[in-house]
């Protein structure tokens, strides 16, 4: 093979790797494939460390005991069957953790017979983690294993939770910034807003957090303090961790990435890709052989 061919092959190889790397990411909110600040790739790396499993079908819940189901930023309606599966899952003493700020989890919460609801709000405070009144700091308000060694949690554009037993709440110097001006107005009274609540439902434990943003790469804290401690407590214990991937925005992938994921998961496509690859290699080999023969004889 001459130098030109070697250089070309290397360039093509690098280009293919770069292209694959690029196409395997996405900018979708909360997506596990999104490595930017608003993705959850870091959190999913943590989930891999605890051998968490993806839950793509709710029928898989039927046999689970001593398990935790994470539903992070759900979207789209849950079917009655799905809600029933979650209720049965709770009925076996399991734990469900729902993190939502858009109230899309409210129908399923109602289905489960829970009193907890996500109340859309633009919680702002004088107690903030960053120079932005919407990066509100919430403090523990009750005793729960989830809050062990959690002095505070920094939220990012959180909503509020009503019902249930409040576990985390903002300080009294917080308000619902309805006009979004970052300041308190006369019709925006000061109040302490619960942001995490717990409730016993059908014998299981249901947590509702009004801010899934604590799981994004920009917020996830691997130091084990504050937010990190909360996530650490959530994933600790000898229980199976299941990550909902039917409704959660964490499963988000755009078209090209979806195709790549489909190929990754489909045996037929894998075989087809293998045949195409072998064909290309063979074609290249025979092409080279033919050229060499032509050179020898010509």
């Amino acid at each position: 093979m001459n130098k030109t061919a070697v250089v070309s092959s290397l360039l093509i190889l690098i280009a293919v790797i770069v292209l694959i790397a690029h196409l395997s990411t996405t900018g979708l909110e909360f997506s596990r494939y999104n490595q930017e600040w608003n993705g959850t790739s870091k959190f999913f790396t943590m989930l891999e460390e605890v051998e968490a499993r993806d839950l793509s079908s709710y029928s898989e819940l039927n046999d689970e005991d001593n398990s935790l189901l994470l539903i992070i930023s759900p979207q789209g309606p849950f079917t009655g069957e799905e809600a029933a599966s979650i209720r049965e899952f709770l009925g076996r003493g399991n734990t469900v953790f729902i993190a939502d700020e858009t109230r899309e989890a409210n129908p399923v919460l109602a289905w489960l017979g829970s009193d907890a609801r996500v109340v859309p709000a633009n919680i702002s405070s004088v107690e903030t983690g960053y120079a932005d009144p919407r990066t509100v700091i919430a403090y523990p308000r009750g005793n729960d294993p989830l809050l062990a060694n959690v002095p505070m949690v920094t939220l990012n554009r959180a909503s509020a939770v009503s019902g249930g037993t409040p576990l985390l709440a903002t300080t009294l110097f917080s308000w619902d910034d309805r006009d979004g001006d970052g300041k308190m107005s006369e019709d925006e009274p000061l109040s302490s807003f619960p942001v995490l609540a717990v409730e016993s439902v059908s014998g299981g434990t249901l947590y509702v957090l009004a801010d899934p943003s604590i799981f994004i790469n920009g917020m996830v804290d691997t130091s084990g303090r504050d937010n990190g401690a909360l996530i650490g407590n959530l994933l600790s214990g000898n229980r199976t961790v299941l990550v909902e991937q039917s409704h959660s925005r964490t499963a988000g992938a755009d078209r090209v990435l979806s195709l790549a994921l489909l190929a990754k998961d489909s045996m037929g496509i894998k075989i087809a890709a293998l045949i195409v690859s072998v064909s290309i290699v063979l074609a290249a080999f025979f092409g080279r052989w033919t050229e060499e023969e032509r050179w020898k004889h010509g």
Binding site: H22, N38, V126, Y130, P189, L190, M219, R288
Partner: protein, 566 residues
């Protein structure tokens, strides 16, 4: 490269171009500012990681403010007014700190802002409470003194004053007590403990009740004054700020040389009766409390009847204007204070910045005032307030003025930089002409040209005039006018260099060089020489055969030879 490789290369190139195409117009592919937030969250990396944990501080301050009146009123109750004032000053300082936090956190429109406003009113009422209580205690002391001195007239007037002060005390206490529901409401919303605040309100109520009882006892013991033949009258019986009441009296038996008028228990004025035993004096209504006042006249053992007159409260109008001061953080405040059309002379006007007292200024005789306030960077609100209860005037407040102060460039820094630039420019200006100076053509053909310099001239003997002329003629023949003129000038300079050395530098021009000899015999011919020299050197003028330049040069040389250049 075979066809397959080429195909793959084309495919990849197309893919990369397709991916990059949307960003072709953007020089920076990604910045944090492009991606500050989404509808779900803000990008923490684009935010300053400044944790603001002010809730505990705010809560503690508010609780402190709520608890602060208690030690003040406790000290008032035991008549330790010095300690009460100290506790009050602490309270005021806490309020100021709290006010700054409320402004910086933009909480003015919240329950915290309501709390701040109520607290401020409490602060003002409490200050009045301390002052009036101290005055009431003084009246009690005076009563004992006058009783021991057996001075029924002063005891009589003291009763009136005690009534007025007790009323003011009751008003201040009533104000504080009347604000209780609002304070409890706001405190309840903010989860504050109101126990000590409620205790303070109760103690105030007790203080007022006690003072009421004391005043009633005093009124019951008010002596009866026997009227003498010394008569007194005040007309009209009431007036407002700016009016002048007329006080008139008479003692018809004899001329009294010394009559003292006693106003509200204090000596006010001394005067004498005229031949007819009559005395009059105006009583201008200025800084005197609104309400009833008593006045009587005394002269030795004689006491007049006691006259009561009323000072009615009047409306006031206060204005405020702001303009930038001399430095970026100074704001010039000016305005006026009038009661109707009457300027309120010498009245204190409080300049409030962000609703907190910044400074107190005094109104001048024409009713105007001015002050310079120093503000921190940022936006502020300014207001002028007049509410001195010592005047028979109703409080007034100017409109709110919003100002924004931003740092201007530091003047000293500007001067320093400007000075540096100027110095640099001067150095360059000095260096440039020297650098540009054309080397003098060699005086002797074949000899290398030398750069004319002071040093050279000082250390080398100047060429003889003959040599200079020869070189000049050569250059003239060659039509090198400029160089020929320079040869003449340099020859003069070399001769005169020692004389001019102290004021000579490398950058000295021909004109400056000539200026060195002003006041000497050389002055006139040298000026003419330079004028012609500059025409040739810089004005592209040509030399003629018997050019004036040569004549001036010759004249200068002659004067040098004669020694008239010293």
């Amino acid at each position: 490269m075979n066809r397959l490789s080429f195909f793959v290369l084309v495919l990849l190139s197309a893919a990369f171009l397709g991916l990059l195409a949307p960003y072709i117009a953007q020089p920076a592919l990604y910045t944090l500012q492009d991606d500050p937030a989404t509808s779900f969250h803000a990008n923490p990396a684009a935010l300053e990681q400044i944790s603001q944990r002010r809730s505990a501080e705010l809560e503690s301050l508010m609780q402190g403010l709520l608890d602060s009146p208690q030690p003040v009123v406790l000290n008032v109750r035991i008549h330790d007014f010095e300690e009460a004032q100290r506790a009050f000053d602490e309270y005021k300082e806490k309020s100021r700190t709290f006010g700054n936090i409320v402004v910086s956190l933009e909480l003015s429109k919240s329950a915290v802002g309501d709390f701040q406003r109520e607290n401020r009113k409490n602060l003002a009422a409490l200050e009045r409470m301390i002052n009036e209580s101290a005055r009431f205690a003084e009246i009690n002391r005076l009563e004992i003194r006058y009783r021991s001195e057996d001075n029924p007239t002063l005891l009589y007037t003291l009763t009136y004053e005690g009534e007025a002060v007790q009323q003011a005390l009751a008003d201040a206490s009533g104000e504080l007590a009347g604000r209780k529901p609002e304070i409890l409401d706001v405190s309840g919303k903010l989860g504050l403990n109101t126990t000590r605040y409620l205790e303070a309100v109760d103690i105030l109520d007790e203080i007022v009740s006690e003072s009421r009882q004391e005043q009633e006892v005093r009124a019951g013991n008010q002596p009866v004054i026997n009227e003498s033949s010394l008569m007194l009258a005040v007309t009209p019986a009431s007036g407002r700020y700016g009016d002048a009441l007329q006080v008139a009296g008479a003692y018809t038996f004899t001329r009294l040389a010394h009559v003292t008028l006693v106003l509200d228990g204090r000596d006010w004025k001394s005067l004498a009766t005229n031949e007819g035993g009559v005395f009059t004096t105006p009583l201008p209504i200025g800084r005197i409390r609104a309400g009833d006042h008593v006045i009587f006249a005394s002269s030795g053992p004689l006491y007049s009847n006691i006259v009561t007159f009323t000072v009615l409260p009047a409306e006031t109008t206060i204005t405020l204007e702001t303009e930038p001061g001399e430095t970026w953080d100074h704001v010039l405040c000016s305005g006026s204070l009038y009661a109707g059309k009457t300027p309120v002379r010498s009245a204190p006007v409080r300049i409030m910045v962000d609703d907190f007292l910044e400074q107190t200024v005094t109104v001048s005789d024409d009713g105007t005032y001015s002050a310079i306030v120093v503000l921190a960077e940022g936006g502020h609100t300014l207001r002028a307030v007049f509410d001195d209860p010592g005047y028979p005037l109703l409080p007034s407040s100017s409109g709110m003025q919003s100002v924004s102060v931003t740092p201007r460039a530091n003047l000293s820094l500007v001067l320093l930089v400007g000075g540096g630039v100027l110095a640099g420019a001067l150095i360059v200006a000095g260096w440039y002409p020297t650098r540009r100076r054309t080397p003098v053509p060699p005086l002797v053909p074949g000899e290398p040209a030398r750069i004319p310099s002071v040093q050279t001239g000082l250390h080398k003997a100047p060429l003889s005039p003959i040599d200079v002329l020869i070189r000049y003629m050569e250059l003239f023949e060659g039509k090198r006018w400029s160089e020929a003129a320079q040869v003449l000038y340099v020859s003069l300079r070399d001769r005169l260099a020692r004389r001019a050395a102290p004021r000579l530098s490398r950058a000295t021009t021909a004109r400056e060089f000539a200026g060195i000899f002003s006041g000497t015999a050389l002055s006139a011919p040298f000026r003419s020489f330079v004028a012609r020299y500059e025409e040739i050197r810089y004005g592209a003028s040509s030399l003629v055969k018997s050019d004036q330049l040569l004549a001036f040069w010759d004249a200068i040389l002659s004067l040098i030879e004669e020694g008239r250049h010293e």
